[in-house]
């Protein structure tokens, strides 16, 4: 048990931030002042203006569309000769300012065919995956947290940050802030995925190897690199 109360914590975070400010203030940047053009630019942003006529959208449930976009993995693995015993579906519901992505699992039915690898939905993390891209492109692990049903890891190459979550299929319900953005679909190396691009970050969600994966990374990497990251998912070998 620590002796740190909330006031001490607040004080330390504030002190640390102020220390950074003091260090920068001590540097000689006296020549940096706002130019008249820049002042005008900011002023036009914040100056009171007649309020434009606002478009009133009905509240939360004005659904742009409520789509049960079923990315049936039955279709995904249609090329396989194996009889599919179970289906995993993504359901996407789009609201005014957010979208909800739910992954559901239909329990395997009794068949005479033995289940294939893709029919197996572990209830705990049995195999850890990570993008081979990480090692091939000089990324180093910055952070990792794992429990029985999730693995969250962060990597950086010093400039870009990639984080990935691997979790079991059950009970995955992701709410995404899709205001001024939208959830799109893509097929990456044969795998169906949902992705969005917002605030300089790509977010990608997909199902593979019996697990649910999500990746977020800086868009400075570019979408092609994001595709490489997703398609390079492979088991971690010690």
């Amino acid at each position: 048990m620590s002796n740190i109360d909330s006031l001490t914590l607040k004080g330390c975070f504030l002190t640390s931030t102020l220390k950074e400010i003091e260090q920068i203030e001590a540097l000689d940047c006296s020549s940096i002042t706002a130019s008249p053009e820049f002042k005008e630019r900011i002023h036009s942003t914040i100056a009171p203006k007649p309020t434009p006529k606002r478009v009133h959208f009905p509240k939360r449930f004005t659904v742009i569309f409520v789509a049960a976009i079923i990315v049936s993995l039955t279709i995904m693995f249609a090329a396989s000769a194996t009889v599919r015993n179970a289906v995993v579906d993504f359901f996407v519901t789009v609201y005014d300012t957010f979208s909800e992505l739910v992954i559901t699992k239909e329990e395997p039915k009794e068949t005479e065919t033995a289940p294939s690898q893709n029919d197996i939905y572990p209830s705990t993390i049995e195999v850890e995956y990570k993008p081979a891209y990480i090692d091939e492109n000089g990324f180093t692990q910055l952070d990792k947290i794992a429990d029985r049903i999730h693995i969250f890891a962060v990597w950086t190459n010093g400039t870009e940050i990639i984080d990935m979550t691997q979790s079991i299929i059950d009970a995955n319900d992701v709410t995404l802030d899709t205001e001024s953005s939208s959830l799109k679909t893509a097929t990456i190396d044969g795998v169906s995925a949902y992705y969005m691009h917002k605030n300089g970050i790509y977010l990608v969600y997909w199902y593979e190897h019996g697990y649910f994966f999500s990746i977020s990374c800086d868009d400075s990497l570019g979408w092609e690199e994001v595709e490489k990251i997703v398609s390079s998912i492979s088991p971690v070998t010690n």
């Binding site: 048990m1 620590s2 740190i4 109360d5 909330s6 001490t8 914590l9 607040k10 330390c12 975070f13 504030l14 002190t15 640390s16 931030t17 102020l18 950074e20 400010i21 920068i24 940047c29 940096i32 002042t33 706002a34 130019s35 820049f38 630019r41 900011i42 002023h43 036009s44 942003t45 914040i46 009171p48 203006k49 309020t51 434009p52 000089g138 180093t140 910055l142 947290i145 969250f152 962060v154 950086t156 190459n157 010093g158 400039t159 870009e160 984080d163 979550t165 992701v174 709410t175 995404l176 802030d177 917002k198 605030n199 300089g200 970050i201 977010l203 977020s216 800086d218 868009d219 400075s220």
Partner: protein
Amino acid sequence: MLLFYLSLIESEDDRASITRIYESYLDWMLKMAFYYLKNESDAEDTVNDVFLNIIRSNTSIPLDDERRTKAYLFICIKNSALKLKRKRNKHRTVNLNELLNISAEYNIEAGLIQNELLKFIDTMPDIYKNVLALKIVFNKSAKEIADVLHLPLKTTESRIQRGTSLLKERFGDIDI
């Protein structure tokens, strides 16, 4: 798009706060942004982005205490500047040891815990430090932090959760 942002400044109080920041801190904000970007044009873009994010997020800005105001604006500027810098310096690399300092072990002795906490926060990666500072010092919610730092909500929540875990791993049960 600008009209959309302007339409979000709904009250006179909010406009007064923004105007006060503009009048009192514009040069200071530019200087902070310039420190990270070393380029006046990029610094101006960053400050402009920060203004737009503040307006759009519609969250209150602490103006009662200059130190707190500066701390709040600084976190916003640093976040935007570093984001832009990552885009500009796509191929630049930095010494990862600086980022990984967080795992360094400290010896905690009675009475020194506050200093150790400060040291720990000083070396914390910015991705965690920025969101935690806004949450802890300014009592901002994950949604407000996501809006003002222009980050996806899910990413913001993960960073808060992980930053909190790091503090708890090191210092035990902290009330955040």
